[in-house]
Structure formats: structure tokens, C-alpha cells
């Protein structure tokens, strides 16, 4: 769990956009069933890619600014960042293999 970061509107810029390694943010909410299907996968990936890719979650219920900025209107949405820019957006719950494939492209 320690490898998985929880980011907010307040620290998103510093933690994700200005990160010195690639990053992936899982936009989720408590009310969203499919988010819970993909949650354990994101946690596992955070462990596996620790130090290589920063993996974080953002609760869209308590953070409204960042999701709006990225035009998010469906969750779960995973956004992958490289050099502070959006590299790929994944909408919907996908199996671990598919997410890993996208992560590997960041390295």
C-alpha cells in the first residue's frame, strides 16, 4: 500500500506533472463498482513498478478540479503521464495485462 500514492487537487501538479519519473493516475470514486474491480490491480502495479513509475489514485468525489481539467466524465479512467504530459488515457476497467502493456510504453 505504501507504494500507492493518493493525490489531490492541491498536490497533483507537484506529485504528477512535475514528477521526475513517468506516472499513472487512477481516477475513481467510492460509488463506482467497476473502479473497485480495477483497484486491486492498480495497487499491485504500484508495488511492481515502485521507483520506475509513480502510481497514484485520485478520488473524483473530493477532488473536482483535476478531473474537470482532463475532461473526465467516466470512471474508472487511468491517465498515464510522461514528462508531465498525457501519454495515454484508458477509460473503463481493463485486465492487468492491458494496463501493463500501456505502462511498459512509458519506460
Amino acid at each position: 500500500m505504501a507504494d500507492l500514492l493518493h493525490v489531490s487537487d492541491a498536490n497533483f501538479e507537484k506529485e504528477i506533472v512535475q514528477a521526475d519519473i513517468p506516472a499513472m493516475v487512477d481516477f475513481w470514486a467510492e460509488w463506482c463498482g467497476p473502479c473497485k474491480m480495477v483497484g486491486p490491480t492498480v495497487e499491485a502495479l504500484a508495488k511492481e513498478y515502485a521507483g520506475k513509475i509513480k502510481i497514484a489514485k485520485m478520488d473524483v468525489d473530493t477532488n473536482r478540479e483535476t478531473p474537470a481539467k482532463f475532461g473526465i466524465r467516466s470512471i474508472p479512467t487511468l491517465i498515464l503521464f510522461k514528462d508531465g504530459k498525457v501519454a495515454q488515457t484508458i477509460v473503463g476497467a481493463l485486465p492487468k495485462g492491458d494496463i501493463e502493456e500501456a505502462l511498459k510504453k512509458l519506460l
Binding site: 470514486a29 460509488w31 463506482c32 463498482g33 467497476p34 473502479c35 473497485k36 474491480m37 480495477v38 483497484g39 486491486p40 490491480t41 468525489d61 475532461g71 473526465i72 466524465r73 467516466s74 470512471i75 474508472p76 479512467t77 488515457t89 477509460v91 473503463g92 476497467a93 485486465p95 492487468k96 495485462g97
Partner: protein, 304 residues
Amino acid sequence: MEDLIIIGGGPAGLTAGLYAARSRLKTLLLEKLSPGGQVLLTDSVENYPGFPEGISGFELMDRMRRQAENFGLDIQSREVIQLHLTPDKKEVVTANGLLESRSLILTMGATPRKLGIDGEDRLTGKGVSYCATCDGPFYRDREVAVIGGGDTAVEEALYLTRFATRVHIVHRRNELRATKLLQERAFAQERIAFVWDTVPTRIVGETGVATIELKHVKTGHLSQLRVDGVFVFVGYDPNNKLVKSLLELDSYGFVLTNNDLETSVPGVFAAGDIRSKLLRQISTAVGEGATAAFAAERYLENRT
């Protein structure tokens, strides 16, 4: 070698797993995401007996999973890539290794069907949605359209009235197919408007949905509806990719079985939404899961 491998962790798969575990079959349940299936898209389940106040989709599936695991069911998060079926052995190729079993139960379920119109894929996640409980809160004080007229469409339209100021139900017929109780609720709900005899032909927008283009099916008349979101509930397609070329399917691609839920290949059973049948519900899925597990057990006994 396993006695039984169950592919898919929705209500049918978890019930099959519960019964198989209690029968002490050496059983493995494989789920590509986390268990729960399509029920997780549902806010409140009202028609599954035993819960007079209703129960949340997540809570119900969490209980089913825990109940199966209490009896020793081994649930693994693995995606199945390919199947090789022979009378003696069923090979299950997963993303991380080959598994072998003497029998299989297929419970891969179904996926909400897409409209297949221009703009749909491009705007998915940007106003086009297949899950009202996930995305409804993004439409506070906005207008949305719901496409479809069955149970799911009407249920989700009712759910969306909690957030949206107006929900337009766009339906290709001039009456709803949904259960009468749901129809009564929808007709009584002031925030719901109906657009009859109409199909969407195009979803338009740059960074998000701006309008949908509609066509009246009788007159051919085209019109535009300004909405911020489009929720699509027009039926289901079977998740049959693994078995398409291996088993007999009906004309829609659902898996055909006999009364004992055995498919066209001996030792391979199917249960739940993936099966060719009349009614796709949690209540029908769990009954089939139990039957399939019992039939698989009998199949294994007869072969030893």
C-alpha cells in the same frame, strides 16, 4: 490437473464455485478483473429475493464472493487467452501460464452493446457512458439522454434523475419494454422526457458530447438534441471470444446448452448471461451456476 475450472466471477461463476467447493471438487475460479461482474454496475438490486429493502450491487457481490471463499473456493485474478478442448482434458491458456482441468464452467457473461454510430467511440469517457452509477454524478444540473427502452435503460434513467435536470429517454419503439413497475415510476418522474420512435444516428462534440443527431424511424425526419451526456443501454453482447470457434452458439452468439447446461462439448458447461436463454438476471444466473456445478460433478463421477 483441476477437477473444474470456472471462467468468470459474476453471480453464475461464484455460485458454481460455492457449490463445487462444498462438493470438494478441486476447483479454480478465474476472473480477469476482480469478482463481481456486471452487477457492480448496479446501484441497488431490487429483484433478487431475500433483500426486501434492496441491496447495493457491490455489497451483494462482495457477500457472494466471501460466501464462496468461506467454503474454500480458490479465486485467481487471471485472464484466459485461449482454450483447447478435448474429451479427456480441457487446457486453459492464461496470461501467466497453462492450466489443465477435467471440466469447465463458462460464466464469462455479457457486455453492454454499443450503438455503433459515428462519434460513439471517440466520445466514450467524454460524455458517452455505459454505466449510470459510475458516471451519473458528473452530470449534476445537466441534461442527458438515455438510449433504450428495456429494464436497464429505464432503471438507469430513473437513477440519473438524482443528478440531471432532465433525462431524455430515446427509444426506437413507441412503448417501453421495461417491467411495468419501472414504467410506472418513469412516467411519474417529471425529470424524464420521452422521445418515441427515434434512434440516434450520430454523436457530435469536440472535447465532450454537445448534441446527438436523432432520426424518427417512421418519418425519417432528422433532429438534434442538446445534451451533455449519452447513456447507452441497448442490450448485451455475449463475451464469447474464447469459445466462438469451439462451441455451438445461437444466432446472436450466446452459448447453446442442453437442460443440464452442458454445451456442445462434453464436460464443458455454461451458466449465466453468456448462455442462450430467455431472461438474464442475477436470480437466473445463480440457479444456473448451481445446476452447472452439479452437472459437472456428475460428469466427473461418470468418467472415473
